[in-house]
């Protein structure tokens, strides 16, 4: 079965229309936007706060939307019909991932505008955000394969929202509890480090270790997703 762009776009288009009319899911898009608008009006100017909003957007948009798009297909019994169609599973997942990706980039872009955040080096920061988005979409796909309904999806995403959007504050406690130093290696902390170093004018060459760690997360998550996929999609 060959990979077809037409089918992929058909799935993208279908999910886009479905999503715009699904208030339960599209409402979560507003959370990072409202937060960004409020912080922006208050004139807060701190990288940590900016990235709390961005990380929240990554979790609530990239991971959650991807997860609920897959879970809803299962809940409404439409996945079987889709699996029996000529569209391969890869096309289905990529079509959905593409939609989550575009939405995430849009939400982060608008949030950055509201916050008045303009990085020193747009290219490096964008690269970091894009890489992180891929990680969160892989996370969402894995969770979507495990959950059976949108309801379950919105519960299961909660711990991840806490870890990845507020997790950065854990490193403050790291002096007291050394084990929490591990939090520095989470992809969200790495993204913040990239952003901070960019503000100090560091170039891409010195940042490769941070990109490497995020890259490892992406590869790890992709592998986990593959394993879950093999297990779950046999039937």
């Amino acid at each position: 079965m060959t990979f077809s762009m037409k089918r992929l776009l058909a799935i993208f288009n279908k999910d886009y229309k479905d999503l715009t009319r699904n208030l339960y899911v599209s409402f979560t898009l507003l959370v990072p936007l409202v937060l960004a608008a409020v912080f922006g009006r208050q004139g807060i100017d701190s990288i940590d706060l900016y990235y709390m909003v961005f990380n929240m957007a990554l979790c609530l948009v990239a991971a959650y939307i991807q997860c609920s798009l897959i879970a809803e297909e299962k809940e409404k019994n439409t996945l079987r019909g889709l699996m029996l169609s000529p569209a391969s599973t890869m096309e289905i997942l990529v079509g959905k991932g593409l939609l989550s990706f575009v939405t995430t980039i849009l939400v982060i872009g608008i949030s950055a505008y509201f916050l008045g955040y303009m990085p020193e080096n747009l290219l490096i920061v964008s690269l970091g955000i894009i890489l992180s988005t891929v990680f969160y979409i892989a996370l969402g796909t894995a969770l979507g394969l495990v959950t059976r309904s949108v309801m379950e999806a919105s519960v299961i995403i909660m711990p991840f929202v806490f870890i990845f959007s507020f997790g950065t504050s854990l490193s403050v406690l790291a002096e007291k509890y050394p084990i929490l130093q591990a939090a520095d290696y989470l992809p969200n902390s790495q993204l913040i480090m990239i952003a901070k170093e960019v503000e100090m004018g560091t170039g891409l060459a010195e940042l490769w270790s941070h990109f490497g760690i995020i890259g490892l997360w992406v590869i790890g998550m992709a592998l986990i997703t593959m394993v879950i996929y093999r297990k779950r999609m046999v039937d």
Partner: protein, 351 residues
Amino acid sequence: MGILRISELEKHNEHTVVFPAFNLEVSEREVVAIHASTNVRTTLLNIIMGGASASNGVVYINNETIEKSRGTFLAKIGGFFLQDGLYERLSVKEHLSFYQSIYGSTLAVDEVIRMVQLEGKRNQRVGKLSFSEQRRIHFSRLLFQNPDFLIFEEPDQNIDLETKRIFLKLVRAIKEKGKAMLVLTGNMESALAITDTVYRLDDKGFHTLDIRAEDNEKDLAEEKSKDELGNDEVIVQPVRFEKIPTKVNEKIVLFDPPEIDYIESSDGQSLIFIKGESYPCMFTMTDLEIRLHPYGFFRCHRSYIVNLQKVREVVTWTRNSFTLVLTDDKKSSIPLSKTKMAELKGMLGLK
């Protein structure tokens, strides 16, 4: 060579037999219905679609089995299942365009909307349609998919007459294109409305349900001999017996003929239907036909006797396929065979 070939397929569940080994071949331009219980139906469907394995036997489609390549095997099957879902937030038109592009079909969306008669609702959301209209959307998927072999699970369960008419019309059109179709249903009437080739599958085996016209004549001969016997009985019995005895939990219950809605024959047992409930009767269909004839009962089909007082509508699907709709609460529908239609017209004075 048949498109679908089932060879020595059987299924046991622990120690119970779901269905014993049977063979079936469905060729081009052929529609075959299997009348089976829910359990047998879902098991058979699961086996064909690769969801469960059979105890023995193989299913071939175009001489290929599911083991060889799951994807290409399933791609050849067009399924019409009860459990299928729809994207409720899409409009009818968007939903069909999605099917069109996912199957890469050249069929125009508007054309299909017209075929399933949803023109007036093209911009309405699928979730707001009635159940029957949603089933039409399911059916439209098969038109875009255009597979060689189609399988229907309870195609006309809970749908309105209009949808059934559209459905039967499209089934005939698909048949003309040289496709093979298999209908799995627990309702004899819906099986008979779609095709003349009906089988019954249960734990006892796979039986042909003979509904060809020649059999009617044989039946008539039988009836004549029974007729004479019946006359003899009347002579012996001085009081004319007017009630119809049925058996309920070892008790014998007597019913007045006008109470009866219709009588169905199932596995050689006649079942009397009264207000939606069925009671097994000790008499054969032929006996009942003779006894009930004076009360305005009519043998409308080899396996059915209907109380003409309770008939509300005679629906014509095609020139050779008819259904009687009754006045009871469930609006039961009963098949009317081609040969009996002329007789009925005579009785109604519509020569």
